[in-house]
């Protein structure tokens, strides 16, 4: 009796028949019935209606029947969650069964049923099974933790299963260890920052011990886990390598490749002069070669991996060139990949062999392969300089075959060779010209035309040759047309007398009769160049060309490093990082190689790049005052890289700020000869309290006269921030500026005390835009009495963020050898306008429409006598970009956009009435910043 009949029953009432059979008393009949049900399930029939009947068969001693019922349950439990609950009791009972097979079966199946209610019941049995005496049950339970984590991660953490799983790494049975490692690795992947797989030398040792004993598949789990470990030093890395090396001779190629991955990664840490390093290199070659003896599909996977390894460490396979020679019956994808590796391995030592082989390939039948082989000869010439001559002669031999596609490919690569070695192999041009007529592919024609144009002075009949191409100009592809245009212009510049007619002809063809914009533009450029200044044209067109680089096809190094960490996986076949093709959070972690050993860098080297905490000024010790409380909390750690969004915290303060903003708008404009001083911080400065008003400031005032050039951003004059009498003789005045995209705080420190001041340091309190000193305060010399020093302190916007009142308030602490002093100042918001604040017109239009009415605000700026163009130029200097302009009834409307360092956009409309000195600003994007912006804008424009 065979099972195949189960597939053939498609009669009506089948479900009823099955139902009857399932409820039969005879065990044998029940089993047959369940088999039939599962057969229908496999072919996609819906047999979920039988759920209760099948579940009834669950309580049986017959293991075969039980397995079949469980199989059914796994498939349909999700669609019948209420019914599935009926099975829970049996599961729980089975988890206590005397037979370990049944215990394991129950745990395994329960984990596969993704019904919440069942999951709750799973915890207790699972906990018991994780500590079961039978390793088969333990290993099944270990995987079940991963299943449960997939369903409900929080539950797994709460129940403490992760710790039990970690304990299983030390289990006596290697299979249990392997499954625990696999489960932990999977769970760790979804929590990138957790330290789940706490790999330390002890656990590594345990893993390495288990590695020798477990099954081949377990070895793969363990090796993959080892690869994510970072050894402490080269000695540890060597000892791991030594214990992994025996895996290289395993019969399962997946084990071999996982071992290769571990070795490639840890080798990075071994000093190159170490004997062991050399031994390891030798040991890596044979297993890689052996991988090539598998079926073509596996060969392809192996070759893609070898391609990576060869790019990283060519020395491993440098003597194994022969194994990459192509066999006639290899599939084309294997052939092409082999060819690629051959080129990568080509060196002076083996180039003769490689060339002989490539020449053979060029006579094969498969056109694609032949083309690639001819290209490969060209790449050899470019890669190995000594071989260039031989390559050229090989190519010439191939051209003699007159096989059409061979000739065309050869001409394309000879062009590349000319570009790499100019003025060396021009003797072959004559041969090339003989084949002119047989070229029918655009790329080959373009290459040939390039050659003729480039060497026009050595080809007697260059003009005739080019003229022949010109006849069918409009039928050519763009590539050829462009090349022909350039070549004829080159020819004209070299032989102006004879070819004037030709050049005129091509220029008119390109500019008048062509509808291809590229071609027309190039034509016009040449035409104007030639007509205005032929000498300049010669310099431009016949300029020396940069040599083409020899390794243009290498994988970019950082990507290569990441791919090396993924050897043996899909990523290494696609040559793409896993994040490019794996959905969700899994596999998105970027792996990297351990730092190179022996190059003087310690493992901590990545930290050195950041401005180290050691360079920060010593801790500021505040004396008293309520402001000081905050400063106590100053974070001296290096600035964090991310700028937290400040938007939510600012929303509330928006409205009250409006009042003050309008006041300050009126008074803080220096052009009005301020001095009214309503806003607390905008102490009118130009009255001379800052003696060191720089030259830049003067320029700015001059520009106010209406020079139409974009200027740098506006810099307010310095104001006194700290009075000498309050600071034991230290007077600080300062201002803010934005220079070349860098925010700077310009300070003048004056010593009005009787003694010398030294040891200056500065620190900011948290503030609205995260301003923080980007370096220490550079006061090198001691400040003697009555001396003034001007310092520029670069600022970053990556400091801690806290909303201030007003928004642009900044609390500063300055320390010297006498005491610590505190003051606050306000910075103009224009400081924070970034250079890329120019919004796309379409985006601007769309955003503008979206602005709610209550976000709008209007301001008047008075007494400004600029026309709109000058104003917009000046504003652009301060990174306020005019997106559009229109004129309505004598009013100029400028639409402007501004972007702040924290990514907030501000949109504005500016109305300028001719003859009326008053400007009207309106419509701001963000209510909470608008007043600050407005109060700052008026000085910028004036």
């Amino acid at each position: 009796m065979t099972d195949s009949k189960y597939f053939t029953t498609t009669k009506k009432g089948e479900i009823f028949e099955l139902k009857a059979e399932l409820n039969s008393d005879k065990k044998e009949k029940k089993k047959e019935a369940v088999k039939k049900v599962i057969a229908s399930m496999t072919v996609g029939k819906d047999v979920s209606a039988l759920f209760p009947d099948v579940v009834n068969c669950m309580q049986t001693d017959n293991l075969e029947l039980k397995k079949l019922v469980y199989l059914y349950l796994m498939n349909y439990a999700k669609s019948q969650p209420d019914m599935a609950i009926m099975a829970v009791n049996t599961f729980v009972k089975d988890c206590e069964d005397l037979n370990p097979l049944i215990r394991a079966l129950a745990v395994r199946t329960m984990g596969c049923i993704r019904v919440d209610k069942i999951t709750e019941y799973l915890c207790e049995p699972l906990r018991k099974c994780l500590k079961d005496e039978d390793p088969y049950v333990r290993k099944t339970a270990a995987v079940c933790v991963a299943k449960l984590h997939d369903i409900n991660a929080q539950l797994v953490e709460d129940q403490g299963f992760l710790d039990t799983l970690k304990d299983l790494i030390s289990d006596s049975n290697p299979m249990v260890v392997a499954n625990a490692v696999a489960a932990l690795s999977e769970i760790a992947e979804s929590h990138p920052n957790s330290n789940l797989l706490d790999l330390n030398p002890q656990t590594i040792n345990k893993l390495l011990t288990a590695l020798n004993e477990c099954t081949e598949w377990g070895q793969i789990f363990i090796l993959d886990c080892l690869a994510s470990y970072l050894p402490r030093d080269d000695r540890e890395s060597q000892s791991i390598c030594e214990r992994v090396t025996p895996r290289l001779s395993h019969a399962n190629s997946a084990v071999v490749l996982s071992a290769v991955k571990v070795l490639m990664k840890f080798m990075e840490m071994l000093p190159k002069d170490l004997d062991y390093y050399g031994t390891l290199l030798k040991k890596l070659a044979p297993p890689l070669v052996t991988l090539l003896s598998a079926e073509p599909e596996l060969q392809y996977v192996a070759l893609r991996n070898i391609n990576l390894i060869v790019q990283k460490r060519p020395e491993i396979l440098k003597h194994e060139m022969k194994v990459f020679f192509v066999k006639y019956n290899d599939p084309i994808y294997v052939k092409l990949e082999k060819l690629d590796i051959m080129i990568r391995l080509a060196s002076q030592a083996n180039i003769a062999q490689v060339l002989a082989e490539l020449k053979e390939y060029a006579t094969e039948v498969d056109v694609d392969f032949v083309r690639k082989a001819v290209r490969a000869i060209g790449r050899c010439a470019i890669k190995v300089e000594q071989s260039a001559e031989r390559c050229v002669s090989t190519l010439l031999d191939l051209i003699q075959t007159k096989v059409n596609y061979v000739v065309q490919e050869a001409i394309v690569v000879i062009k590349d060779i000319f570009r790499k070695y100019p003025n060396k192999y021009e003797s072959v041009i004559a041969t090339l010209c003989e084949n002119l007529d047989s070229l029918d592919e655009p790329e080959a024609r373009a290459a040939m035309i390039w050659i003729v144009g480039e060497y026009a002075e050595r080809i007697d009949n260059a003009d005739e040759l080019l003229e022949s191409f010109l006849e069918g100009f409009h039928d050519e592809s763009t590539q050829v047309q462009l090349q022909l245009l350039t070549a004829i212009v080159k020819l004209f510049l070299k032989k102006p007398t004879e070819t004037q007619e030709l050049v005129q002809q091509v220029l008119s063809l390109a500019t008048q009769d062509s509808d291809n914009p590229d071609l027309r533009d190039r034509g016009y450029i040449y035409w104007r160049l030639l007509s205005t200044d032929p000498v300049a044209a010669k310099e431009v067109v016949l300029a020396e060309k940069p040599l083409i680089s020899e390794e243009t096809d290498l994988i970019e190094p950082t990507l290569l490093e990441e791919l090396i960490c993924h050897i043996g996986t899909l990523a290494s076949v696609y040559h793409k990082p896993p994040s490019a093709f794996v959905e969700g959070s899994r596999g998105v972690q970027h792996k990297r190689l351990p730092p190179r050993a022996g190059s003087g860098e310690s493992t901590e080297s990545p930290d050195v790049g950041q401005s180290g905490p050691s360079e920060a000024p010593p801790a500021v010790i505040p004396s008293q005052g309520d402001l000081l409380g905050d400063l106590l909390n100053l974070d001296l750690a290096p600035p964090t890289a991310t700028v937290p969004s400040v938007q939510p915290s600012m929303q509330m303060g928006a409205m009250d700020l409006l009042g003050g903003g309008l006041d300050s708008l009126v008074c803080s404009s220096p052009a009005m000869g301020a001095g009214l001083g309503a806003a607390p911080a905008a102490m009118p400065a130009s009255l001379g309290s800052a003696p060191a008003v720089g030259g830049g400031l003067g320029d700015l005032f001059d520009l106010g006269g209406g020079v139409g050039m974009p200027t740098g951003s506006y810099v307010a004059p310095k104001t006194v921030w700290l009075l000498a009498m309050k600071a034991k003789g230290l007077e600080i005045s300062g201002t803010f500026a934005r220079r070349g995209g860098i925010i700077q705080m310009d300070l003048s420190l004056t010593n009005k005390a009787m003694s010398v001041m030294t040891d200056f340091a500065i620190q900011f309190n948290r503030n609205s835009f995260g301003l923080a000193p980007a370096g220490p305060l550079q006061v090198l010399t001691p400040l003697s009495p009555n001396q003034t020093i001007d310092v520029s302190l670069p600022l970053s916007t990556s400091g801690p963020v806290m909303k201030m009142e007003p928004l642009n308030n900044l609390q500063v602490a300055v320390k010297n050898n006498i005491d610590v002093f505190y003051f606050s100042c306000q910075y103009p918001l224009s400081l924070l306008f970034v250079e890329d604040g120019k919004m796309d017109r379409q985006v601007f239009l769309a955003t503008w429409k979206d602005i709610p009415n209550d976000n709008e605000a209007q301001f008047q700026i008075k007494d400004i006598h600029l026309n709109s163009d000058v104003a917009s130029n000046k504003l652009q200097g301060s990174n306020i970009f005019t997106i559009a302009k229109r004129t309505v009834e004598g009013q100029d409307m400028l639409y402007q956009s501004v972007k702040l360092t924290n990514g907030i956009w501000v949109l504005a409309e500016m109305r300028i009435q001719t003859g009326n000195p008053n400007y009207t600003w309106m419509c701001w994007r963000r209510p909470h910043v608008r007043e600050c912006v407005s109060q700052n804008d008026s000085p910028v424009i004036s």
């Binding site: 009796m1 065979t2 195949s4 088999k35 599962i38 057969a39 496999t42 996609g44 075969e64 397995k67 079949l68 199989l71 796994m74 395994r108 984990g111 596969c112 993704r114 995987v143 079940c144 299943k147 997939d150 696999a182 099954t215 081949e216 598949w217 793969i220 001779s249 019969a251 997946a254 490749l257 996982s258 044979p286 070669v289 052996t290 003896s293 079926e295 599909e297 996977v301 192996a302 022969k322 194994v323 066999k327 006639y328 019956n329 290899d330 053979e360 006579t363 075959t401 007159k402 096989v403 043996g568 899909l570 990523a571 076949v573 896993p578 093709f581 794996v582 959905e583 899994r586 596999g587």
Partner: protein, 433 residues
């Protein structure tokens, strides 16, 4: 790791479908569409499909993460081998008949996408279902024969009928064990008859039907040396560059006595793989002396003289020679030396095919082909490219590797039959003109 496993018939019907993660849903229909492109890797909507084809069936695994294709392909191959071991043979019919058994196997082999085991020793403790044979076993049924390790046309090897027998069949106790030594030869011979490249990939495979077998000792040639530097004795005739062993093989007597100790589990397994590059211990089995001439305006004369350099007692079987001919060849006439040979022109492949069913060692055969090529030019002659050959050499190993003895310990009660067989295949045998 693995999300789903399918076994599909050649028409794309689901024979077996297992969803390991249970969240993926069925996507295989699309996969079937692109199968005809015969690409190893497919991806669709973040799901990557990997398949192998064995026994006329597609063995497919899909995955969402970034696993090792090697692992999955190895696994699929093992799955196919195990299915064959358990069901007797691989076919749509046998898979359909034994679906319950295969589901049971899959349950034990893969848990939540993690491969657990593929060893019959472990699996037999768990498997309850008994295999169903597609036809009653008969020694006289010789239609389904072949060496285990290789797909060969060689026939009339009586014991190989065992190859299509389930290992755990309850029908009688078979105390049989088969050991096959299979070598694949790739050779490139240059245009002047110089041997340019030669390598041999070899393997020792066993198929074991012994229900309990404690240990088997396989003795290889004592003078076998491994690696380029290591030489044993004065005239080391047998040498391999590198070898790999199944993990169950104990090698404690290998270094001194060249004895492999293995406890074979039921079913088929590769005990040892080895390879030899560059230096063949003997001459390559075939030498070709070609000459290509232009006869008339539109005719090419290809004269081939083929010599077999095997020892006189041995024979090569199923020798076929493929010669590329110029593009546009229309017809061909040939002069062959015996009636059992055939030759035909295959304009689609731009090649002529010459087939010789039996080729005794030391013999020399010649053939003359006249190919009509309209519009023949001198360059066309260059298109008569490298000649490729395929053949098989029964009872031959090119490395000279031999199995000296096969001992079972403790000696089995009852009759145990041991079979040792050798075969060499051509993998890629090219002779350049």
């Amino acid at each position: 790791m693995i999300s789903q496993i399918f076994i599909l018939s050649s028409k794309g019907d689901h024979l077996i479908y297992k969803d390991c993660i249970l969240t993926t849903g069925l996507l295989v229909a699309l996969f079937c569409l692109c199968l005809y492109l015969l690409i190893l890797l497919q991806s669709h909507k973040g799901l990557h499909f990997i398949h192998v084809r064995q026994g006329g069936l597609y063995w497919v695994a899909s995955t969402k993460t970034n696993p090792s294709p090697f692992t999955i392909i190895e696994f699929l191959n093992r799955l196919a081998a195990l299915t064959k071991d358990y069901c007797g043979s691989l076919s749509e019919k046998s898979v359909r008949m034994n679906f319950a058994l295969i589901y049971e196997l899959l349950d034990e082999m893969v848990d939540f996408g993690y491969i657990q085991t593929t060893s019959t020793d472990i699996l037999k403790n768990f498997i309850q279902t008994e295999a169903v044979s597609s036809k009653p076993f008969s020694l006289f049924d010789l239609s389904n024969v072949g060496l285990f390790g290789a797909e060969t046309q060689q026939s009339k090897v009586a014991p190989s009928v065992a190859a299509s027998r389930p290992i755990m069949s309850s029908r009688g106790e078979q105390n049989e064990i088969f050991v096959d030594v299979i070598e694949r030869l790739s050779v490139v011979i240059g245009s002047k008859g110089v041997l340019m490249k030669a390598d041999i990939q070899g393997e020792i495979r066993i198929k074991c039907f012994l229900p309990t077998c404690s240990e088997m000792r396989i003795g290889l040639n004592e003078e076998l040396s491994i690696g380029k530097s290591q030489l044993k004795g004065y005239s080391s005739a047998v040498r391999v560059d590198e070898c790999r062993f199944h993990q169950a093989v104990k090698l404690d007597e290998f270094d001194t006595f060249r004895i492999l100790k293995v406890c074979p589990s039921q079913g088929e397994q590769t005990v040892m793989q080895y390879q030899l590059c560059d230096e063949l211990p003997c001459a390559p089995p075939f030498q070709l002396f070609p000459s290509v001439e232009k006869d008339y305006v539109n005719r090419v004369l290809i004269f081939l003289k083929l010599r077999c350099d095997l020892p006189p007692k041995s024979t090569a079987l199923n020798v076929s020679i493929t010669v590329p001919v110029p593009k546009g060849s229309t017809s061909m006439s040939q002069e062959l030396s015996s009636p059992d040979q055939t030759a035909e022109l295959q304009p689609k492949n731009k090649a002529l095919l010459w087939e010789i069913p039996r080729f005794p060692g030391g013999a020399q055969l010649s053939a003359l082909f006249k190919v009509d090529v309209p519009g023949l030019s001198s360059a066309s002659l260059l298109e008569v490219g490298p000649v490729s050959m395929s053949f098989e050499l029964p009872k031959q190993t090119c490395t000279g590797l031999q199995i000296r003895f096969l001992r079972l310990s403790p000696t089995q009660t009852g009759l145990s039959q041991r079979w040792v067989r050798y075969v060499t295949h051509s993998d890629s045998y090219t002779i350049r003109i």
